[in-house]
């Protein structure tokens, strides 16, 4: 007869659990797209971060004897109309794109999250006015809002980076993030631990910083990742239009601008590689963002 009541096992409780795969194998199995995105991003971050040491040529070094050269062993991705090495320019362009994309996304999301949390926590007329204001901001398409901001703020170069450009890309993110942070906060502030904190007499700022903000960290990280890809696309578009990053700085959008199209008839590589670079980065950030969303909020993603 089968032993219905097996003797209690010795050793710790978790010894009886089925053997689990290591965490990283599980991660790859559950989120293959996300892991690929993360890997590609790590490579791109390292490559463009070390552009100064990796890039085979100076991105600004012109060589009129060797313009529009096809990809070769000397110039892996070929050269552009000024004879500049495309690989070096793509690497340096990556630095610009990642810097502007990441900083704009973090600035926009952080301001948005702070506004969203405060408005939901304080409520009252502050919330009412802020809500209407953000609603109006949301009614203006992102790209249009960025262009309006570029038009009004002019340029403000700090260490070769146009800080106003970063702001122009960051501000359209604010209302989007604020809306998400607000809806999250509205549910969190009704939790018992928030009541408890309030009963203990903690100040509002302490409750927001220690009890509410950590609880929206998940959605915050997801949104930052998603907004980075949006910011990079907007930077590329603005630079393409001649309203973003300016000439000596390498930028993917800028590499496609001007008469790049005409030169591309004979030398398609000068437009193919910058575009592929943009697509690769945005693709990886979106996949990573999707995977993070699944990890942080499994119920909101019905197989998305």
């Amino acid at each position: 007869m089968r032993n219905v009541f097996p003797p209690p096992s010795h050793g710790p409780l978790w010894a009886n659990e089925p053997k689990r795969l290591p965490n990283w194998v599980e991660l790859i199995r559950n989120y293959p797209f996300g892991v690929v995105g993360l890997l590609v991003l790590v490579i791109i971050f390292v490559a463009s971060g070390l552009a100064h040491w990796i890039a085979p040529y100076d991105p600004l070094e012109t060589n009129y004897a060797n313009t529009l050269a096809a990809p070769s062993l000397q110039h892996w991705l070929g050269t552009d109309t000024f004879g500049r090495d495309l690989l070096s320019r793509v690497l340096y362009g990556g630095r610009t794109a990642l810097f502007i994309g990441v900083s704009a996304s973090i600035i926009g999301s952080t301001i948005g999250a702070m506004l969203g949390i405060t408005s939901a926590y304080i409520g009252g007329w502050f919330e009412l006015i802020l809500e209407r204001f953000l609603e109006v901001l949301l009614a203006i398409p992102t790209m249009i809002l960025a262009l309006v901001l570029v038009a009004t703020m002019g340029r403000n170069l700090v260490f070769g980076i146009d800080f106003n450009l970063v702001l122009a890309i960051a501000l359209p993110i604010v209302p989007n993030m604020a809306r998400i942070a607000r809806s999250q906060t509205l549910t969190i502030r009704r939790q018992a631990y928030v009541d408890a904190a309030r009963t203990l007499g903690f100040s509002s700022s302490r409750i927001i910083a220690w009890h509410i903000a950590p609880n929206i960290a998940g959605p915050y990280i997801v949104m930052v990742t998603t907004f980075v890809s949006q910011a990079i696309l907007i930077e590329a578009s603005l630079s393409y239009l001649g309203l973003g990053v300016t000439a000596p700085t390498a930028s993917w959008g800028l590499m496609l601008a001007g008469n790049a199209f005409n030169s591309a008839l004979t030398a398609p590589w000068i437009v193919i590689f910058p575009g592929v670079a943009i697509a690769l980065v945005v693709f990886s950030f979106s996949m990573l963002g999707d995977a993070l969303r699944d990890i942080f909020d499994p119920k909101a993603s019905a197989g998305r």
């Binding site: 109006v136 239009l241 496609l256 945005v282």
Partner: protein, 319 residues
Amino acid sequence: MLRYLLNRLMLAIPTLLGVATLTFFMLALLPGDAVETMLRADGGNPTPEIIAAERARLGLDRPILVQFGDFLWGLFTGDLGSSSWTGKPVLDEIMLRLPVTLELAVLGMIIAVVIALPLGTLAGIFHGTWLDNLIRIFAFGGIALPSFWLGMMLALAMLWFFNWLPPLGSNSLFSDPIRVLQQLTLPALAVGYRYAAMLVRMMRASVIEAMSEDYVRTARAKGLPASSIVRRHIVPNSLLPTVTIIGLEFALMVGSLVVIEQVFSLNGLGRLFVESVARSDLIVIQGIVVVLTIIFIAINLLVDLAYAAIDPRIRLGRG
């Protein structure tokens, strides 16, 4: 039904006023002197007197609230002011270019919907299979590829393989529809792909959700063939959230339109907008933002109409 629409229309008015107000004050109050930027745009180096004279000519030396009142009154009477660059009325400049942009937007939208709905449904029904993964990669591509670059690639490909480029110049839809179609198909494909990607994702997610609903189980239990379950139960129910996204993501397409017009040298609203930004022509910028917002609101009203047509709960009067 009518009440529902009127309700929506009334809700749109404060949004429009808000956008107009916000744009006005953003342009008026943000740091950076637009007049100076504008004068410098010709490569000149204006003295303070010239700047002051220009400000007076444009009426920018008046108190801000007077300017704002003027702007609002103009908005009511359909007068958006005159371009500080060309001196022509902004409304005329916009109306001249609006048709191209609208045609492009509608064509892009049609392409997106035609691609996205079947693909999204397929991906949802066969989720977890290779077909689903293929469609998901297709959708990821639409989100990742910058539409202006895709446009360039499409044009290059046409030039390489068929030695053909879209015709230039402005053509009227009514006098020469084929030419317009030739001109707009490539840019519409480029912006439509991106739009389609969003819709595919939404449609797929809602199909998956609908498939686990009780009514689908019931339909299967009573022996309905799979094709009619999909046609009569899954697709209509998944269309609702997707149609909402069609309206919301239109804003996204407007952003792509601005850039794609530059790629294909289309003389549309986006081109005018970019030119005005480069020249700091604030009055035109202001006018275009207002007009774009009106279009955005109008599209969302149309979407609400479509929504009402699909969803019996709204059609039958609760709204």
